[in-house]
């Protein structure tokens, strides 16, 4: 894994008063935040809260209404960022009628990555044994990993991952989070979205979103202590309700917290 250590002075992501209006909905509503390079950041919030729109604004595929987005010191979407920012959409964006290796080899040429990049990312996402399989014949989770592998090809400085671990088995989920931490340790900034609050635990920093707004910009420990809760689901509920009930666990069936 190549590490590019960006200048500490420049934040990896700087968002100022970003607003995106889609139709009649303010999908992103006056959002501002800054993220340091080399951080593993979780973007958490329920489905439809604006996570994807925010991520699309970061990578420069979204028409924004107002505000500025600066990545690695350059305006989002500028051509200088195209081989430094990796983006993985929620629905896997790879060619279903090509094999895994054919997909990766094609994107590797487009990104101008080295010839060993394909084998490296196949190992990263544990798909080496499926390299010759047509992507359309893979399971949903495997397809998502092909899409993730594509984003890793260019060893980007910033990775924007939209729900990369949804529907994966727990073992694989754990190994992907380990990979994300390893990437962050080598200087890559990762913004990873999820609607599963428990994934908050795996991040160094958290952005919690609801109805297009960032409710909290904190750390996992900070979130739990400020809301006086013991699990992230309750913490999120507490944030929304504006107080910190100790009753937790009312929404998630599988956590044994609560009185």
């Amino acid at each position: 894994m190549t590490s590019r250590t960006p200048k500490l002075a420049t934040p990896a992501i700087c968002v100022e008063h970003l607003t995106v209006v889609r139709g009649r909905i303010r999908a992103v509503d006056d959002v501002s935040f800054e993220l340091d390079a080399g951080t593993l950041v979780g973007l958490l919030g329920p489905s439809g809260c604006g996570k994807t729109t925010l991520m699309r604004s970061l990578v420069g595929t979204q028409v924004v209404s107002s505000g500025t987005v600066t990545l690695l010191g350059e305006p989002a979407g500028s051509s200088g960022l195209r081989d430094r920012v990796g983006y993985v959409t929620q629905v896997p964006s790879v060619y279903g009628d090509l094999t895994v290796r054919e997909n990766l080899s094609y994107f590797a040429v487009i990104l101008g990555s080295s010839s060993d990049a394909v084998e490296r990312v196949l190992a990263d996402v544990d798909l080496g044994h499926h390299a010759g399989t047509i992507v359309g014949r893979l399971s949903g989770g495997e397809r998502a990993r092909v899409s993730l592998a594509t984003a890793l090809l260019g060893s980007p400085s910033l990775l924007v991952l939209d729900e990369p671990t949804v529907g994966l088995d727990p073992l694989l989920r754990r190994s992907l989070w380990a990979l994300f931490r390893q990437l962050a340790a080598s200087g890559t900034t990762l913004l990873v979205s999820s609607h599963v609050m428990d994934e908050a635990d795996r991040c160094e920093r958290l952005l919690l979103m609801r109805d297009g707004q960032v409710l909290a910009d904190t750390t996992p420990e900070g979130l739990l202590s400020s809301t006086a809760t013991e699990d992230f689901e309750s913490a999120f509920v507490a944030l929304i309700e504006g107080d910190a009930p100790k009753s937790g666990g009312g929404i998630l069936g599988d956590d044994e917290e609560g009185q």
């Binding site: 420069g60 979204q62 028409v63 959409t89 790879v94 009628d97 990104l111």
Partner: protein, 245 residues
Amino acid sequence: MSWRRTRATAGRVLRQLRHDPRTVALLVAVPAVLMGLLAWILHGRDHDFDTFGPQLLGIFPLIVMFLVTSVATLRERTGGTLERLLTMPMGKADFVFGYAVAFGLAAIVQALVVSGLCFGPYGMTVLGAAWLVVVVAVLDALLGTALGLSVSALATTEFQAVQFMPAFILPQLLLCGIIVPRAELPTVLHWISYLLPMSYAVDATQQLSMHAAVTTQFVVDVIVVAGFLVASLALGATTLRRRTP
């Protein structure tokens, strides 16, 4: 624009075709069978096949390529792969020319097989050079590709995309001079026919069937078709958006 990325894109499109042998078979078989059917229909009617054959030899590949390209590009748009490519260091021209090169190669194979059958077993003859008929057929197929690329921007579903074929191609077919010679069309329709690329594509093959030597009109026709081809490729490139609402 980078030749490396254009070539990779063309290679990728051809690889997709290779994984779909039925589409490849249809690309070649459909115009081949249609031309055979036409030859059979016109069998024994003087030189009718020599008149209509070359004209339709240019039109069938155009229609087939229009459909294939508009659906293929629409799949890239709706499947997210186009958006992904445009977040990468990929030029819009790389994308468009990649498709043009891939389908151009497919069109050459298609034109060689179909005209081989026409000039061979189907017994078609033209006064001009047979290889020029092949050149025009390839050019027409490429025009179909280019039109399909730009028109796919107007479609949001595959149902819409396939309906653009009758919407964009059939009016041209009616006005291109096959049914009624263009000079005999009502005045307004005659003017309109000048604006449609298929009129020139069909006229080019007519020139080849009627004249042994290359006529000025033929050269003009080919230049106009090539112009439409370049213009619709450029238009296709402008319909690719890095930012969408």
